[in-house]
Symmetry: C2
Subunit: 337 residues, 2 copies
């Protein structure tokens, strides 16, 4: 039989006589033959591969995002290939410039630090989607979240439980990325709306948003401003570091200092005390992003599109003091010792 007939069988072409179809299938099983993806792709010009470029896979937030994307991609017959940028501008530039060897059909990119102007001048013709606040005006499809509202929501919650000296943990010294700028804008807006003076010294700079930076940052913050009665951390990891530092300093949470995070990753339901956080819908974000990308792969033209995923506040012990479980308060107090 001819090679082409095999191809017809493998691709379920019509006009193949059942007898022949059976014969070919038998031989395929016999030889354990698999079509060579490379040849197929060369012919079709597509690989079915999508690259995902995130700062890292280790942070719970990006890990959960990656996990969702892997699953969502598979559901659409695509395979995900992972790159890590560590949020460094040069690594992000490499991703934006495209891989030196053309291999993927599309790119899902979470940029953090590279200048948006450079993103906009990207010459690589591979379709891309951005996820996150970074990329306003880059002319690329994007799925984002409303970080101004996130900053406002978290701060308002702290104001409502009576806090007045609220620190924002996770500012950036140089290069204030949109993420930070927006969250701080929301934070300040909420303060003003409540008639609480904005003290710029309480926008506390951390080099990155990892646990240890939250820990170090909170130690120095509390030393400099002992009157701080709430910490609004830019993400959950910083908040974990803050909780650890506060415990070490003997400050009770939330009694002395309340803490709010952003991302609401799984771990936040298990810290002691459990962490109040603003939940972002990662599943929806991944799905939306992949949908935008698949459109472009299918040849959909048009101006860059922008979608915004929703978020909501999950109140837990670090601001309410109320334990999650159905256990008497007395028992809880004893537990903490």
């Amino acid at each position: 039989m001819s090679i082409k007939t095999v191809s017809n069988v493998v691709n379920d072409h019509p006009h193949v006589r059942p007898a022949m179809r059976e014969r070919v299938r038998a031989v395929i099983d016999e030889l354990d033959y698999r079509p060579n993806g490379i040849g197929r792709q060369l012919r079709q010009g597509r690989t079915g591969l999508i690259a995902l470029a995130v700062p890292n896979v280790t942070s719970p937030y990006y890990g959960e995002l990656t996990s969702t994307l892997v699953t969502a991609a598979r559901a659409r017959g695509l395979t995900l290939l992972v790159e890590q940028t560590d949020g460094e501008p040069d690594r992000e530039r490499e991703v934006a410039a495209g891989f030196p060897v053309r291999l993927v059909d599309g790119l899902v990119f979470v940029p953090l630090s590279m200048p948006v102007a450079e993103l906009a001048q990207r010459r690589d013709s591979t379709p891309a989607v951005l996820i996150g606040e970074h990329g306003e005006g880059a002319g690329i499809d994007r799925v984002t979240i409303d970080s101004v509202d996130i900053g406002e929501l978290g701060t308002r919650h702290l104001l409502q439980i009576g806090r007045r000296r609220i620190a924002f943990l996770g500012d950036k010294q140089s290069l204030r990325s949109p993420v930070v700028a927006e969250r701080i804008a929301g934070y300040e807006r909420a303060l003003r709306a409540h008639g609480v003076p904005v003290d710029p010294r309480l926008s506390w700079v951390t080099p990155e948003w990892e646990r240890r930076h939250g820990y170090d940052g909170t130690l120095t913050l509390m030393a400099a401003h002992p009157d701080v009665d709430a910490v609004f951390a830019a993400n959950d990891l910083l908040a974990y570091g803050a909780l650890h530092a506060l415990r070490e300093l003997g400050r009770r949470v939330p009694d002395d200092v309340a803490v709010v995070g952003v991302d609401d990753v799984e771990q936040s339901r298990y810290t002691a005390p459990t962490l109040t956080s603003i939940a972002l819908d990662r599943g929806v974000m991944a799905d939306l992003a992949l949908g935008l990308l698949v459109d472009r792969l299918a040849g959909v033209e048009g101006p860059p599109r922008l979608l915004t995923a929703t978020h909501h506040l999950e109140v837990r012990e670090s601001t309410s003091g109320v334990p999650v479980g159905a256990v008497p308060a007395g028992a809880r107090a004893a537990a903490g010792a």
Copy 2:
């Protein structure tokens, strides 16, 4: 100029006159040309792609492993492609059988549940490396850890701080995988060595090894056996659940119940109390695994090889009661309330 000359320039072949080389480079820049990976790969028969199949990317342990592998692969000029099995036998079978379309050069696989006999009968000719305890006798290169010793080490530590009613959290009901079997073997060996009777009722079954299973498991465990004075969790996530449950129950850690985990992921330095855990060297494991795989890709023949990565105990507050930071004990006591 001819296509082949361009190829020669791109591949740094000798015998290209500098003038011509320059001319070609200029045009490449001009057109922003990139070699099409597919054509190249078709010619060379290799894709430079490595598949990684893990249960998920969300668990800190696998997340950190994935992250390390991505970096290690990149350092060797390979790109990592991620699949998730959720630890389900059928999904693992698919991975073992090979992707329907031949596309990757090699496979790094962390199986958890599929029968080893089936792994051994794998017909796919793509080189593979296994990571973990699962796969003994499959005839495939593997990087593992000594889980018997891990079980023994953790248990001995608990015995040495005076605990006698030590529960093992994370047994599996049916299908006791090698991971569990080995850790429990070590646990029982340590108990016997100390003359402490082995109580099989304290090998507590959990459906999976996620935080919530540790939480649920610990609640039921402590209800059934209130005299338990230590919990040896099969991994850190289970331990976080255990810490949460114990806090809710008003049991002090480590005073009433000491807790030990396995994996020593980043978060364990930040829980309250910080978690004693057995650290596995993920970086080394990833490197070893990739080394084995690259050998096979280079055509190295020979019997299956087995490497064992090291581990060590990180003692923290959940067994020692001693805080990590340089803060007076009095401050710490107040902090916990």
